[in-house]
């Protein structure tokens, strides 16, 4: 199952340059972890390995079990089955105060009766750090989050963004092996969130601590992380570099959850040296490059997807033709939405259903883009991604699709 492995895939990955050391020792090892709450399965068998110094995100919709997973690593919740290892030592049953991990809570959970300084000093005092060393390390971490001037304030006297930074400083001050962040930017407004994303990346680079980051915000996960695990209904659907999960989604869910996807059901018509010929309703020509270790057979039904920005539009009866060998179809423009940087076209496909295309407004817009007009759509087969066939027993799971 290619979707469930977390080994770095082959090929060229720009992200590899960002990852400090993909083959660094495993810092957090999660092996076969399960958790159910009375009648609900929260985490349904998860395997993940987070490497030392990595910024690792767990991305998924609310209720997918990502926060429960994080709380099990922190020690607030015990798993029903499986092992959670920190630096190779099983932590199941070890209370939170004996684990070398610290959490940044979504609600910040700053101690309201203590000053910012005392909040940051809390973890150090528990480790019996005293005197000048205590002052030095608190000062150092207040500086890291640029709040030295606010040391004497109470948390209630700070803005949301400042409270957030205190929470990060407090969690980092005790120098944990792993910093756990539970939707830390969820309570901030959009602009502040962007600022804090940059801030978080800077802090992670500076301290080099392993970050395990939980979020439902796909953009946040793509921007911040070295690697991303996409979770759905208590399971990990795919682990990979941000480019991987976006460009080569492994499952229908990942394709639909991250960005906009055109998902089509297709039938295998032939395979030749790693390139599959497919047939799908309304598509004249459909080809895809098979990922490694993926075998298909003639007549097999599967799903493929292509990102809207990979689609090119041509006048149906114009002179310009798509390059030979490209996938193509002729449809009818159903809707045109101008979004400034690009224009979004919704094109009805003859066999039913529709595809979405994002066309950059780099050229003068032709009048091909008016609803009701026939239009030719084409894309490089390199960008047709073969998704995992629907696994058995998963029919009842909610599948998120953004395609209209």
């Amino acid at each position: 199952m290619p979707g469930l492995t977390d080994e770095p895939p082959g090929g060229f990955h720009p992200a590899e340059e960002r990852t400090p050391d993909t083959f660094a020792p495993v810092e957090v090892g999660i092996y076969g972890v399960e958790k159910r709450f009375s009648d609900q399965v929260a985490v349904d068998g998860i395997d993940l390995r987070v490497h030392e110094g990595e910024f690792f995100s767990v991305l998924g919709p609310s209720g997918c079990g990502k926060t429960t997973l994080l709380r099990m690593v922190a020690g607030f919740v015990d798993p029903d089955a499986g092992r959670i290892e920190l630096d190779g030592v099983d932590m199941v049953g070890v209370p939170p105060y004996r684990r070398d991990v610290n959490t940044v809570f979504q609600s910040y959970a700053l101690f309201p009766h203590m000053s910012v300084w005392d909040n940051v000093a809390y973890g150090l005092r528990r480790k019996r750090v005293k005197g000048s060393e205590l002052r030095e390390r608190v000062g150092e971490h207040l500086e890291l989050v640029q709040l030295s001037a606010f040391a004497k304030r109470r948390p209630a006297e700070l803005s949301g963004g400042q409270q957030q930074r205190v929470a990060i400083a407090r969690a980092l001050a005790a120098r944990p092996r792993v910093l756990l962040l539970d939707e830390p930017l969820g309570a901030l407004d959009a602009k502040l969130r962007k600022q804090m994303q940059i801030e978080l990346m800077r802090i992670q680079r500076e301290v080099g601590t392993t970050f395990l980051y939980v979020t439902h915000d796909q953009e946040e996960a793509l921007v911040l992380s070295h690697r991303v695990a996409v979770m759905n209904a208590g399971r990990v659907e795919q682990v990979g570099y941000p480019e991987d999960v976006y460009e080569r989604p492994g499952t229908r869910f990942v394709a639909g959850f991250i960005g906009t996807s055109n998902i089509m059901d297709a039938t295998v018509a032939g395979v030749e040296s790693g390139v599959v010929e497919l047939t799908a309703d309304g598509v004249e020509r459909l080809r895809a490059t098979l990922p490694e270790r993926r075998a298909v057979r003639h007549g097999q039904r599967l799903a493929v997807t292509v990102r809207p920005e990979k689609l090119h539009l041509y006048d149906a009866d114009g002179d310009e033709q798509p390059p030979a060998g490209w996938c193509s179809l002729t449809g009818t423009v159903a809707d045109v939405v101008y979004t400034g940087m690009s224009t979004q076209y919704v094109v009805d496909v003859p066999g039913g259903g529709s595809l979405v295309a994002f066309v950059q407004n780099a050229r003068r817009i032709s009048d091909a883009g008016t609803p009701g007009q026939p239009v030719r759509m084409a894309w490089d087969p390199e960008f047709t991604v073969v998704l995992d066939a629907e696994p058995a027993g998963r029919a009842e799971r909610e599948l998120v699709e953004e395609v209209r």
Binding site: Y97, F111, S159
Partner: protein
Amino acid sequence: MSARPALNPGNDAAGARENAPRTRRGRGGRRPWALIAAVAVVFAFLYAPILWLALVSFNDSRTVSRFTGFSTRWYAELVVDERVRSALGLTLRLALSSAAVCTVVGTLAAFGLRRVFRGRGLWTVLLSLPLVVPEVVMGVSLLAFCVKLAGIPLGFGALLAAHVAFSLSFVVVVVRSRLAGMDLRLEEAAADLGAGPLTAFRTVTLPLVAPAVVAGAAFAFLLSFDDLVISSYLTGVGSTTLPVFIYGQASKRGVSPEIVALSTLMVAVSAALLLVGVAAVSWRARRAGRRAELALPN
């Protein structure tokens, strides 16, 4: 109820800030005289008898209806009155003991109830019920229970048992509501940062519930200090509480200047305790609120 600011100190400051910019006058610009009169009537009703009491207590005359001059002689007489001194001593000992027992047991019970997740509503009703049982009935039942069933002799022991019985639920309710408003993540954060259960309790939980515990203690003291009805069932020979003594004197001999002076003293003690308690709790909140205002522009 005056306990409110103690339960939710943060709201006070916020409310005051919001109301400040409003104009003093009504929307039309004319003063609503009828409403002002209604307020005046309410306050006159509430405070006139008490102010009259205080005034009379400093009157030189033995008759309470004629003013002949300022004097503190009735207070001086109280000090030398052996009955007053013993009643006051008993009342204070009783109020302090009852408050101490209620605060410790009530706070522990509030923490215990925090772990109960089933039937929260039922527990709340069960806790508030003793607060609305008529005192006369409560007195009868406590008399029957303490003396006849448990065999506690009338006097200090029976009084203490009774006072604890009717003050306890108050402490539990106050501390419990404070705990309910507390973010559970705060204790998780303490544990996360390396604090064991006892350290987390000492450094985070206790300081945060302290205002409610103080308020609970103050009100337990006041409830015991003021109680007449239930105490009157349970006072033994030579063990009379101040309210029971005052009632006895007033009903037998009418309102004498000594009794008026004693009553004024009781009002003063109760009011002082109430003010100190409320002020101590809201001071911190108001300070935090003011600083928050200053912090906003940055």
